[in-house]
């Protein structure tokens, strides 16, 4: 038997750490302070002097915060490669969008008035849960993608990293809220969507290409749809879901647009590469073989509230709005002319002729 006395005997004084005060005399910028403003203490308010200088390139793969002094001694490489060129990931708005994301978080458990959902006619309930099945899938991938890229973001460009971290959270909530809607009102989950370009976003090996597909085209289309959620929703709960999710998507789209703008301003040669990416992704989105069989049918059915002809009319109204807003976003980002040059996929260009 080991006795308590014996164990006590083996309990030693803890070793005292060595005291090293060399960090008290660092040559870093000192005397920086910030006052909270109307929205509190935001990232913008602390982005001052040296700490606000965004390096055009960073070779630091460590976690060292921008502006901190380097450690003494050898340090390991934290990731095999880091996207050190600011044109690869940066956006002037990333910090602002992160701050906004933090202040606009919502809860799918308590901020949706679930009690406003009355029993719906069977066909409408089925159409709604089919739409939600497709949407929970889409949002699932939309959360995987920023997660994949996080380890490659340079700590010197932390604003983009923080934004992507907030996107991971937003997409978790979207995955969750559409699953909740599917299971909340007597329906269930229906038919899987079948890809629809999600794989292309996931497999992209260039951040700007990925962002053009995910943030600008993919989430742009989703945002345009959610903003018309009033046309689809049948109760206050569904309206609120679309409204809150659209608000989140707006931030993601804004990041994509401002990132592309920053990239094209600093690396104009990237434009053709992005055009190629969009050529490919537009083609996937309208390819009948890639089409999500449940999504289109359910959407048309819901838009027309069971009247399929009316649903089609409204579908084209939605599609036209999606394409117009997409082209506008590209204009803002500095990638104009896809329509005029005939580069926009004909199936999307054709939507502009619809009324």
């Amino acid at each position: 038997m080991v006795t308590a006395d014996k164990l006590n005997e083996l309990q030693l004084e803890p070793e005292v750490p060595e005291l090293d005060l060399s960090w008290l005399n660092l040559d870093t910028e000192w005397g920086v302070s910030a006052e909270p403003g109307r929205k509190g203490l935001t990232l913008q308010q602390i982005n001052k002097s040296l700490y606000g200088d965004i390096p055009a390139t960073s070779e630091d793969s460590s976690a060292r915060p921008r502006g901190a002094a380097p450690p003494e001694g050898a340090t390991p490489r934290m990731t095999p490669w880091v996207l050190g060129d600011a044109t690869e990931t940066f956006s002037d708005s990333a910090g602002l969008l992160y701050d906004e994301a933090v202040s606009r978080q919502w809860s799918s458990a308590t901020d949706i008035p679930w009690d406003t959902m009355d029993e719906l006619p069977e066909d409408i309930e089925r159409a709604m849960v089919q739409l939600c099945t497709s949407l929970t899938e889409v949002e699932f991938i939309a959360g995987d993608v920023p997660g994949k890229w996080l380890p490659r973001i340079a700590a010197d460009h932390f604003e983009s990293g923080l934004f992507l971290m907030s996107q991971v959270m937003d997409e978790a909530r979207h995955t969750d809220v559409f699953r909740k809607r599917a299971l909340a009102n007597g329906g269930g989950l229906l038919l899987q969507g079948g890809g629809g370009g999600l794989r292309q976003i996931l497999e992209a090996e260039d951040f700007t290409q990925m962002s053009s597909m995910l943030h600008i085209l993919g989430e742009g289309f989703v945002q345009s749809l959610f903003r018309l959620g009033e046309l689809i929703a049948h109760n206050e709960a569904e309206k609120r879901i679309f409204r809150l999710a659209a608000q989140d998507e707006s931030r993601h789209v804004a990041y994509g647009v401002t990132h592309l703008k920053y990239t094209l301003e600093n690396d104009p040669e990237k434009a053709e590469e992005v055009h190629w990416t969009l050529d490919m992704f537009e083609n996937t989105l309208v390819d009948p073989d890639q089409a999500n069989p449940g999504l289109a049918g359910a959407l048309v059915y819901l838009l027309g509230d069971g009247d399929v002809d009316e649903g089609w009319r409204l579908f084209w109204h939605v599609r036209r709005k999606q394409v117009l807003e997409y082209l506008h976003r590209l204009d803002v980002a500095g990638l104009s002319g896809r329509l005029e040059s005939g580069r926009l996929h004909p199936a999307l260009a054709g939507a502009l002729d619809e009324n």
């Binding site: 083996l10 004084e13 803890p14 005292v16 750490p17 005291l19 090293d20 960090w23 008290l24 909270p36 203490l41 602390i46 700490y51 460590s62 976690a63 915060p65 502006g67 380097p70 003494e72 340090t75 934290m78 933090v102 202040s103 978080q105 458990a109 308590t110 949706i112 679930w114 009690d115 089925r126 899938e137 699932f140 991938i141 995987d144 993608v145 997660g147 994949k148 996080l150 380890p151 923080l162 971290m165 959270m169 997409e171 995955t175 909740k180 909340a184 007597g186 329906g187 269930g188 989950l189 229906l190 038919l191 899987q192 969507g193 996931l202 449940g294 289109a296 049918g297 359910a298 069971g306």
Partner: protein, 364 residues
């Protein structure tokens, strides 16, 4: 279930219009009404309440490599999405869904929820010490978000609750990064010296999720023990809030990591030695890294300035001992209580535990 007239009519209308109607043929699990549990007293419609009928059946092995939602009907044309985790034992904890909702309910905002206006000049040495700690906290937040985020693309939808919860971990870690950066840059100081980062390698290099989890248990429990001293370390109300809010977040993360490892040890006890190897590695890097600037900065704060730092190092040593005890305590909770016998020799010194060869001399 016989097809109702309304569904038949809907199919006809869709088919006449050239639209697919297969989705109306799916034998749904009709009647699942999770909303019935969504009362204010129950915390609204929490994710746990969705886990009914087939939707709540979390399989031991998930055999679909697409993004198909658990409980939906597969479309066999869908491309594989590259997930690599298909076994429940590798990621699961029954607590996930609840912790996910708790994280959202307990969310906070570093801009508005910290009383920044309580910051006041605290003297140069103290400010530098606080800023040095803030720098290292930011580093860990950054690393934690990056390394947690990378696992999302590995975990299949079968374990959706885990992914949702990890999403909150990423977001909490972002806040850990930025709240401490804000502290460093808001009170007349600036950032200090970056850490050497060797200790983070077990997080960045992990090949399996459970390897990542044990490394996270080590880092998070060390951090938690430090955050629990917030009352003693904080110089202002603002810092007190930061310590307190970060502590809540880290406690949630640990609840998951520990419960998952407990689950793994019960389901796959054969992996015990493998897990010990991961801990050997994590501890070795931690010991080698040393975190000197952290403990020295704590010495300055506990000593109320550089003059008192030398004397305060005994208190710092005590805090470091608590860190190791906290780590070992959490390991005991996940059926890895034998770790104390195998703890890294350097960490044994930190904890004041006799070297292993001394322990072996005890007659049993």
């Amino acid at each position: 279930m016989p097809e109702s007239d309304v569904v038949k009519a809907a199919k006809e209308r869709l088919e006449q219009s050239g639209l697919p109607s297969d989705w109306l043929d799916i034998p749904v699990h009709w009647g699942v009404k999770a909303k019935e549990q969504a009362t204010p007293e129950n915390g609204g419609l929490r994710f746990e309440y969705l886990n009914v009928d087939v939707y709540g059946e979390v399989p031991e092995h998930w055999d679909n490599n697409t993004e198909i939602p658990r409980g939906a009907v597969p479309d066999t044309r869908t491309e594989q999405m590259g997930y690599s985790i298909f076994d429940k034992a590798e990621v699961w904890s029954d607590l996930c869904a609840g912790l996910y909702e708790d994280a959202i309910a307990e969310r906070w905002n570093s801009s508005a929820d910290i009383p920044w206006d309580t910051l006041e000049p605290i003297g140069s040495d103290m400010e530098r010490a606080v800023c040095q700690i803030a720098t290292l906290m930011s580093e860990y937040g950054w690393t934690k978000a990056q390394t947690t985020g990378r696992w999302l693309q590995e975990i299949s939808y079968g374990y959706i609750e885990v992914k949702l919860f990890l999403g909150t971990v990423v977001f909490d870690a972002a806040r850990l990064y930025e709240v401490w950066r804000k502290r460093a840059l808001s009170n007349g100081g600036g950032l200090g010296r970056g850490g050497r980062n060797w200790k983070f390698l077990p997080l960045t290099q992990s090949y399996t999720f459970s390897e990542f989890c044990v490394a996270s248990i080590m880092h998070d429990s060390m951090l938690l023990a430090l955050l629990r001293h917030g009352e003693q370390l904080a110089q202002t109300e603002a810092e007190r809030s930061i310590y307190e809010l970060c502590q809540k977040d880290i406690e949630r993360h640990l609840a998951y990591f520990v419960d998952h490892m407990r689950y793994l040890m019960l389901k796959e006890p054969v992996r015990r030695e493998e897990i010990h190897r991961y801990m050997n590695k994590a501890e070795w890097y931690l010991a080698k890294d040393g975190d000197d600037t952290l403990y020295s900065a704590l010495g300055v704060i506990m000593g109320d300035g550089r003059e008192g730092a030398e004397e305060a190092m005994a208190d710092v040593a005590e805090l470091r001992r608590e860190q190791i005890e906290t780590y070992l305590g959490y390991l005991t909770e996940c059926h890895l209580g034998d770790r104390e016998d195998r703890l890294n020799e350097e960490l044994r010194k930190w904890a004041g535990i006799a070297p292993e060869e001394e322990v072996e001399k005890i007659p049993v």
